[in-house]
């Protein structure tokens, strides 16, 4: 991550992801009927709902702490990938589900954007993050 513009873009994406994920938490933890209905269809009610809610909460927090942004983005992207799979396989896209599904895709996109901008901060990928070798001229040229 070099230019300040990219940094700002990354922060916008982080805030967007955290905000969208954060506002669904209320429905999950408060056992809103619609949320219960969704997780019943997935066969995860109630433990899965609480577990995923907890993971999303963690992802939101990590996304906003500077030293852990990439980890939050990684977790968020995984959770949203799961949500998208859910929509594809079980939930479908009709009616209000379309809105929920699009929000999941939006958060997924935000998390991936953050990850791409901050790929140098990913811990295990260091090995492939070296730049392509640049050309070095002969000393006298």
């Amino acid at each position: 991550m070099k230019s300040p513009k990219l940094k700002i873009l990354s922060w916008i994406a982080q805030f967007a992801a955290a905000a969208i994920m954060g506002q669904t938490l209320y429905f999950k933890f408060a056992a809103h009927p619609e949320s219960v209905q969704l997780f019943t269809e997935l066969g995860m009610e109630p433990h899965g709902r609480l577990l995923i809610g907890a993971f999303e909460l963690i992802a939101c927090v990590l996304l906003l702490i500077p030293s852990s942004i990439v980890y939050g983005a990684l977790l968020g992207a995984c959770l949203m990938a799961g949500a998208i799979i859910g929509h594809i396989t079980e939930l479908g896209w009709e009616g209000p589900r379309l809105q929920l599904g699009s929000l999941a895709i939006a958060v997924f996109a935000c998390c991936i954007t953050t990850l791409i901008i901050r790929r140098r901060e990913l811990p295990l990928l260091k090995a492939i993050q070296t730049e392509k070798p640049t050309k070095r001229a002969r000393p006298k040229d």
């Binding site: 997935l42 066969g43 995860m44 899965g48 995984c78 959770l79 990938a81 799961g82 799979i85 859910g86 396989t89 079980e90 295990l124 990928l125 260091k126 090995a127 492939i128 070296t130 392509k132």
Partner: protein
Amino acid sequence: MSTKLAINLHKLARFTNTAIPIFTLLSFLAGWRISFYFHFLTVPMIGLTLINYYYLFAQRNHSLLRNFGILGQGRYMLESLGPELRQYLYSGDTEERPFNRTERAEVYRKANNVDSASSFGSQNDFDATEVKLRHSLFPISKENLLPYRLTFGEERGIQKTYTLTVPFIISGMSYGALGKSAIRSLARGIAQTGGLMNTGEGGYPKYHLMENCDLAFQIGTAKFGVRQEDGTLDDQRLADLAAKDQVRLIELKLSQGAKPGKGGMLPKEKITAEISELRGVPMGQDVVSPTHHPECEDYHSTVAFIRRIQEVSHLPVGIKLCMGDPRQFAELVAEMKRQDSFPDWITIDGAEGGTGAAPKAFIDRVGMPLFPALKSAQDALVSAGVRQRLKLVASGKLINPGSQIIAFCLGADAIATARGFMLSIGCIQAMQCGSNTCPVGITSHNPKLERGIDIADKALRVANYVHSLEHDLDELLCAAGARCVRELSFDHLYVPNETLLYPFAHRI
């Protein structure tokens, strides 16, 4: 492969690369048909599959990853853990370089004022590689020792001589190489002992001056702080600096042990706005000093330049050099004799490398190691009949009393060490001096890292270290039956045949 039990890594990698997508598919099917919980497995597996394909087909930088995919990553991971693992778990106590654990521990104990006696024998090899001190059959007691006094400039009869009372000098480390907290800790600590600190070649010694210790101002080849536009010496600025009460000596650095024949180097990571101002250098690029002083082109001009600095500064002036060819050194001494003009001391720097950043070839392969270099210098001065005209200071890995006493026997009048004092203020030999990431904040300008240094606490350790070295030196002198370091000589050394000093012991 010699044994049947060996793992065929090529096959394993092929198997992994096939298995990952299959396993991903299976977990997806399980999540779809059996329980949605299986998707907790599906999602990471999809990620793994994508990364694996990226490694195998998209990236072009790493052959290993192109050929073997994700499994090849294991090598990089283990390799990156290697140095720490080796240091913490596998290195023996006498294995590490430049200072092994027993050497470092001795400094730490001295700095903490903890008893450094060890039991049940030495860790060193004695067969043929260790130089040792020959003690006397009749050791003397401490009351008979003479107090250590070394007066720089007495030979020339100048007014502003400087008398050193502590034989251990903090060798040249500039603000730039070290952070300000580290500099101030060292300066405050050495001030408590009444000792001397060298400023290094980092320009105006702002932080060195803060703690009221005696300073030797070093002029490097770039002449930071006393430079004219064209890179030559600015007499007026030197005179102004020399007029400061704290600046007691001037040292002209011809070359240094870490990179003899090459100018000093400050990596761009460590150049802050303040450093760029103090040195008068631009930010954002490495600062590489010239290889030599423009004033010093041959023997004659070098000696004349030393004399000029003496005349301008009115202070004792010494030179620091790392020995390349002893014959050249002898020639330089002969020229001094011809002009009847000597520096007030010569610091012989061993080629063992210092804190400074330097190209690996220079650290490893250029210059003479300290002991033979020091002995050559001593011999050259003695055979020219001018040993009494100047002092000799030795530097280069002399962090422990055992190596320091050898240097004294080889002719040194005082010891300078940089890394010994760095260890005393908590250096853990992380070897990151050039990257501004020193984990204990000594060679870093990052305020978050410098925060770790509590100046008062570290100053105490510096003073403890010096006092402890003095104590051990006294005991060694007593054992050798010498009343002061001047009474030590080469004959006090036992020199076995696999040491660098052996050729000197058996010369015809």
